[in-house]
């Protein structure tokens, strides 16, 4: 396996060849030989990246890194959405209006749009271990600041600052890609992302529970919620210390030992960015992710208050129901990717696109139902349906993204992630900030918008594989994977041979033709497909 220069844009997702099923548990291919001289608890490849994903192990350094990484991400989700289940108390203490609450929700997801973009560069400079630790420990004071605010402006400002910590997503994915072989990186990253997102659900359980415990000790409501915020703050400090003391950047040590292979040419950032931005598919998936991940974040912000107000439940009960929404990430997000892979085995990329459209549209339908239902049991049922389908759609999106581009993979992933947060802020602004309509109506309108904004996936067309409604291009030259990925480079660059990595990826991505790949002539130097 080649060691691409670690400073390159896109290197956070390097190693994803596109040929492996996105959710394999271990690498069987003989193309990736095990390094028998390495003394790790898991079998490793020549770069000492793990070839096996052993979920319940804490072996140093690979699985330990996995657990440190996803738990840090989980912690930042807990603190970013910690205010949401306590809003019924906070809104009375700080005399908030609906607009204030809505603006704070928007602020909580907007900060990370910028911090995620910066985090990639930070990881490149100081390594993912320090990147994660710095972010988590410098955002701890912002969580403690929640206890000090006394008006709407303070509430919005602090939620904005805490939101920056969601950039741990980037350090998490980056760190995983230094520790795990490219053939299983899809599953590892998907699991880490899904389990981290669960923090948005766990916080809806945790904060009301802490609030109740503190009240039992005799505190009044307006003091109890402030004390409750010390727990997420301390979680930040604990995770930061664990990451610093137990973590390491690379399987063999820390980033000071990193070396770059001189013969791999570094790509120019401006070219990669241009390539990403001029590919229309990038923008389709940015929009789509805004309406799968984005609406998930918005719902994390509003759902507890919705159940509290509409059905007159107490804080604990509405928190438990709201938690079910976020916690289904445990299985739903990986399931979406798995469905994408299963469909692709038979029907290739067209199945992935149909899978994504079906999951996301069903999510929108359940969201409409959620807003309209008048009875509590039906509401909860609709909410669970909405959560399962929306989160599966998130997983399915990242089943397609690795194939949109090889040259600009990292930037497209970053833009898609940013699109998620942008969609979150936008839906919160449109439907949950003005007093013109109730939260229930807002949810239904959001559901309609989800279904409408999922339609653009029908126009995504890959000349080599087709789109939802059309087969692959009949043109002999354009219908090859090599043409698609090669055309990301100019003729000059191709002459210099800079596109070799893309060609290799193109070969591996032939599996996206589905069953038809059996009839395609096998080039002599391609390793057999293992699933």
């Amino acid at each position: 396996m080649d060691i691409e220069g670690a400073g390159e844009p896109g290197s956070s997702m390097h190693g994803v060849t596109g040929r492996e099923s996105t959710f394999a548990f271990s690498v069987h291919s003989p193309a990736v030989p095990t390094d028998a001289t390495a003394k790790f608890s898991l079998p490793v490849d020549s770069e000492h990246k793990a070839k096996v994903f052993k979920l319940f192990s804490f072996g140093n350094p690979h699985m330990r890194t996995f657990h440190l990484s996803w738990i840090s991400f989980f912690t930042t989700f807990v603190s970013t959405f910690a205010a949401a289940p306590l809003v019924p108390i906070i809104r009375d203490n700080l005399n908030l209006t609906k607009a204030d609450i809505g603006n704070a929700g928007i602020a909580s997801v907007s900060g990370s749009i910028f911090s995620r973009l910066v985090m990639g560069a930070v990881c490149d400079l100081i390594g993912p271990r320090y990147g994660c630790a710095f972010l988590v420990m410098f955002s701890a004071p912002t969580v403690f600041c929640m206890s000090l605010i006394s008006d709407a402006a303070g509430f919005i400002t602090v939620r904005f600052m805490i939101g920056f910590s969601l950039a741990t997503f980037v350090s998490c994915q980056y760190w995983m890609s230094t520790m795990f072989n490219g053939k299983i990186i899809g599953l590892v990253n998907g699991t880490a992302a899904g389990w981290g997102n669960m923090g948005g659900g766990a916080t809806q359980l945790l904060m009301p529970l802490l609030y109740d415990i503190i009240r039992k000790f005799g505190s009044t409501p307006f003091i109890a919620w402030r004390i409750a915020f010390f727990i997420p703050g301390c979680m930040h400090i604990v995770m930061g210390i664990l990451v610093l003391t137990l973590g390491q950047d690379l399987p063999d040590g820390n980033v000071g030992a990193l070396h770059k292979k001189g013969d791999v040419a570094k790509d120019k950032f401006s070219k990669i960015l241009w390539n990403a931005v001029t590919n229309y598919r990038t923008w389709v998936f940015v929009l789509l992710y805004g309406y799968s991940m984005g609406v998930e974040l918005t719902t994390d912000n509003v759902i507890a208050e919705y159940f509290y107000d509409r059905f007159d439940l107490n804080l604990r009960t509405s928190g438990i129901i709201a938690a079910c929404f976020g916690m289904s990430n445990l299985v739903a997000r990986p399931a979406g990717g798995l469905l994408s892979d299963i469909g692709a085995r038979r029907f290739g990329m067209r199945a992935r696109l149909w899978n994504l459209w079906i999951l996301q549209t069903l999510g929108g339908a359940f969201c409409v139902w959620l807003g309209r239902s008048e009875s509590l049991p039906i509401s909860v049922f609709a909410m669970i349906g909405f959560s399962l389908f929306a989160q599966a759609a998130c997983g399915a999106t990242f089943g397609v993204i690795p194939f949109v581009s090889r040259r600009s993979l990292g930037i497209i992933s970053g833009l898609t992630g940013a699109g998620g947060n942008f969609g979150a802020g936008l839906t919160q602004l449109l439907f949950f900030t003005s007093s013109k309509h109730s939260t229930g109506t807002g949810l239904s309108l959001m559901g309609v918008m989800i279904m409408a904004c999922t339609l653009p996936v029908t126009v995504v067309h890959f000349p080599q594989w087709g789109s939802m409604f059309f087969g692959p291009s009949k043109d002999v030259e354009k219908s090859t994977e090599e043409f698609y990925y090669g055309s990301e480079w100019s003729a000059d660059e191709r002459e210099k041979g800079l596109h070799q990595m893309s060609l290799r990826f193109a070969e591996n991505s032939r599996s996206e033709r589905g069953r038809r790949v059996m009839s395609a002539p096998t080039p002599p130097n391609v390793t057999p497909t293992h699933v």
Partner: protein
């Protein structure tokens, strides 16, 4: 896995809770203002939660009531939000269906309705509690029948809820000990990270 058991827990919880949700209620527009209620408190500035008091007393308005007060069994006096504190705050909305109405969220006092004359109650002195939020309020009394349904009311303000309103200043919730603890924890976080970074850098340069 965690998810299915959570779903089951939620479903069983809401089956218990759904029975607690009040679906029907008396319409406020059907009630007659047969109670006259007075509330006295410190005038001029906002009442401070936890310190200032309100003294309420109510009596039956004989001319309006006639003999309808035979069904009155209990009287509850409540603290209610004035319209200015309800704007842009759907969780305090006034609805005619008293089962869904959120105007009056705090109870000042509850007591039995006297069977014999004098048909009045009070004066009750109530300290504004520490969980009352900063807002503008008025006082309303409801009379309930034996089944717990509202049958009459009286309030300290007019029908438009524009006169005789008073303000309460809630506690801020902030406390010196919380401020100090937050500062200490934050400082610890920043200092330990910087210290670690510097120490590791020094170890790396000294070992090179």
């Amino acid at each position: 896995m965690g998810s299915p058991s959570l779903i089951l827990t939620a479903l069983s919880l809401l089956l218990c809770c759904s029975s607690a949700v009040a679906a029907e209620g008396v319409l406020f527009s059907s009630l007659k203002p047969t109670l006259s209620i007075t509330a006295s408190f410190k005038k001029g500035q906002a009442l401070v939660a936890g310190e200032d008091t309100i003294t309420v007393s109510w009596s039956l308005n004989q001319t309006l009531a006639g003999n309808t007060d035979a069904s009155y069994k209990t009287v509850k006096v409540k603290l209610c939000y004035a319209p200015v504190s309800q704007t842009d705050r759907g969780w305090r909305k006034t609805k005619d269906n008293l089962g869904k109405d959120k105007t009056c969220q705090f109870t000042i006092t509850t007591g039995p309705y006297p069977a014999k004359a004098p048909k009045s109650g009070g004066p009750f002195t109530w300290t504004v509690e520490r969980d009352i939020p900063t807002a503008t309020y008025f006082v309303r009394a409801y009379a309930f029948d034996a089944s717990g349904k509202e049958v009459a009311y009286g309030q300290t303000t007019d029908t438009e809820k524009s006169t005789n309103l008073f303000e309460v200043k809630g506690i801020s919730g902030r406390h010196a000990s919380i401020d100090i603890a937050a500062a200490c924890f934050s400082a610890f976080s920043v200092v330990s990270l910087t210290g670690f970074f510097v120490a590791e850098k020094r170890r790396r340069t000294s070992s090179k």
